[in-house]
Amino acid sequence: MAEVKWTSDMSAALSLAKSEGKPILLDFFNPG
């Protein structure tokens, strides 16, 4: 079963998005 594996490294995500040609899902959350 798939599971969303989040990163908090925006620079790495942008690089990965460019290499894979995928858009980014950017989620801002409040844990409180």
């Binding site: 995928k22 858009p23 980014i24 989620d27 801002f28 959350f29």
Partner: protein, 150 residues
């Protein structure tokens, strides 16, 4: 979102296959300021350059979130003039999630994509007729009203 929507298998499979997921605290700088975050949850669809194309503010259940993300991805394609890339995602929203909040906008945008592809007015008129029939109270039916005169 973390308790209900993201653990849902349909959402997880969609995000894993189609997107690069990034999660940040609401006050994480410089991004909270860059994307003007004022409430949570806020979910933004960015292109690979980091440019925003679609924003969802507030909780959405899985059956609304997947079509919402599809619309965001279609907007990334549309805004980058990849009309052929946008069309399948718009069609999927309309056919697989016709009751979702994203469906009327997808129907509108499909008409625009088909117009820009064919340079013929018929798709715009058809979009208005379909919106008037299927989503008569939506804002997108109102936005398409001028196309009924074509």
């Amino acid at each position: 979102m973390g308790a209900v929507t993201y653990p849902d298998s349909r959402v997880a499979e969609f995000v894993v296959s189609r997107m690069i997921p990034v999660q940040l605290l609401f006050d994480a700088q410089p991004y909270a300021a860059q994307y003007n975050i004022k409430w949570t949850p806020t979910m933004i669809v960015l292109d690979p350059e980091g440019k925003e194309h679609h924003r969802i503010v507030g909780f959405l259940p899985p059956d609304e979130f997947v079509p919402g993300l599809l619309l965001g991805i279609a907007k990334v394609s549309f805004d980058r003039d990849d009309l052929e890339g946008a069309l399948p995602d718009l069609e999927r929203i309309i056919s697989s999630y016709p009751r979702s909040a994203a469906a009327p906008e997808a129907m509108y945008l499909r008409g625009v994509v088909q117009y820009k592809t064919t340079h013929k007015a018929e798709p715009l008129k058809e979009a208005f007729e379909q919106l008037k029939r299927d989503y008569p109270s939506s804002e997108w039916a109102k936005r398409a009203m001028p196309y009924g005169l074509l």
